[in-house]
């Protein structure tokens, strides 16, 4: 997406967030929700957004109860479901699944996350949440956690690259930094990437700290995971060093990355961020179906 398209969606989401809608915008429209992986926030916020605009939901349900278990390809599934609805939201474990689906579908397909690839609707709500607190310009954004497999940080980094003077600080354990090709792509588009070994080094420089969940299976052993998890935990005492106005985001679900005591601090914006999934997805659905 181009910067202008992103900004248009963010403005539209802001209007929906203020309640500027009739609830009949998508009257008579059907959204098929095809999730081949577990999801709470993305699935429910798309459903909520569709229903708030007067549309209805067709849910794939559990994959086990479908023809996919009989060996049907994703391509065939999408071709068939295209005939039942006005748009499709797809989450799939394989990278590139949404692109393939968009090629075979006769209705618009929204990528609800594909493997370790992209998660564009999450990125839009991340940008929306940042924009509620500050201009997305001349800011320092810290990305912490699993930057290798975390699709939300890949999408976010490329989206931030479209804005002026956004510096990206990376705080990741060995082996879980951005893949090389992503680093090179970001450098190609002029992003300043600043690596840090410890969150303590970075926290005082940041306007936004974006924390992601670490998955135990990415670590060589449980001890390495426990060491990292304890070192990189976000606590109220760590945030005492932060700049005034700095915000903490997390795509959720969190496990141990953020101390629950942080929730009460004004910088904790991750629940607001999750709520922002609804207006952003209202804007997306309205755009593709109207």
């Amino acid at each position: 997406m181009e910067r202008e398209e992103i900004d248009k969606l963010l403005c539209s989401a802001a209007a929906f967030d203020r309640g500027n809608y009739t609830g009949r915008e998508l009257d008579g429209k059907l959204l098929a929700v095809l999730f081949f992986e577990p999801s709470t926030r993305t699935r429910m916020s798309f459903s909520s957004a569709m229903m708030r605009l007067g549309g209805k939901i067709l849910n794939l349900g559990s994959v086990e109860a479908t023809s996919i278990t009989k060996g049907e390809t994703l391509s065939d599934t999408i071709r068939v479901i295209s005939g039942y609805c006005d748009a499709i939201v797809l989450r799939h474990p394989k990278e590139g699944a949404a692109r393939l689906a968009s090629e075979v579908a006769s209705v618009p397909v929204i990528n609800g996350g594909d493997g370790a690839g992209q998660h564009p609707s999450q990125t839009l709500l991340d940008l929306f949440t940042i924009r509620e607190s500050m201009r997305i310009e001349n800011i320092d954004v810290g990305l912490q956690g699993d930057l290798r497999y975390g699709r939300t940080v890949h999408s976010l980094a490329f989206a931030l690259a479209k804005y002026n003077n956004v510096r990206i600080h990376t705080i990741a354990p060995d082996g879980l930094d951005f893949p090389r090709y992503i680093k090179e792509d970001l450098l190609d588009v002029g992003v300043e990437l600043i690596p840090h070994d410890k969150i303590e080094e970075a926290v005082c420089e940041l306007d936004v700290l974006y924390v992601t969940r670490l998955q135990r299976e990415r670590f060589p052993d449980p001890v390495a995971f426990a060491n990292y998890a304890s070192t990189y935990r976000i606590t109220p005492s760590l945030l005492e060093r932060a700049k005034p106005g700095m915000i903490v985001l997390h795509p959720l679900p969190r496990v141990d990355e953020i101390d629950p005591a942080v929730d009460a601090l004004p910088c904790a914006k991750y629940f607001e961020q999750a709520h922002n999934g609804v207006p952003i997805r209202m804007a997306m659905l309205n755009e593709v179906m109207n």
Binding site: K94, E95, G96, R99, L100
Partner: protein, 155 residues
């Protein structure tokens, strides 16, 4: 068939067939693999590796008797040997001589190195790569086969 002389290499001519010249040094055998010429072949093939090039430096060269290449085969050769030329030989004379061209979009030729890419599944989809300043990029998962990687491993 190949003999060394003081000022270079002489390779005997073919009557009919194809000469692939100016192959990136070391890629001659990859070109044979692309063309499906393997152990036990009965095709007459001449391969010269790391010989002196008239353009300077080194090159590989392949001559194949009684075979003219399909466009698809030439496109694949262009990926591993972007400076190669293809000459069609008819009755000992060069009938056509053309440089290979790397296509802007490469469909169904390269296997994506990302095992989790949708093109590496049972889906009825061909891989699709585009030329990128640093290599070749998968149009589905965005993985990059960089110039430092051996593209021949993915063909």
């Amino acid at each position: 068939m190949v003999r060394t002389i003081s000022d270079g290499i002489v390779i005997s001519p073919i009557k009919n067939g194809t000469v692939i010249d100016h192959i990136t040094p070391g890629e001659g055998l990859t070109v044979l693999r692309i063309l499906g010429i393997r152990d036990g072949t009965n095709v007459t093939v001449i391969v010269a590796s790391n010989v002196t090039s008239s353009r300077g430096g080194r090159k590989d060269m392949v001559k194949i008797e009684n075979r003219e290449l399909l466009k698809d085969e030439v496109d694949k050769i262009a990926l591993v040997a972007p400076d190669a030329t293809i000459s069609i030989i008819r009755n000992f004379k060069v009938s056509v001589k053309k440089p290979v061209e790397v296509p802007k979009q490469i469909i169904g030729v390269i296997k994506c190195p990302n095992p989790n890419c949708i093109t590496n599944t049972k889906e009825p989809v061909q891989s699709r790569f585009v030329v990128h300043p640093r290599g070749f990029r998968c149009q589905y998962c965005d993985s990059l086969i960089s110039c430092e990687m051996d593209i021949g491993d993915y063909i």
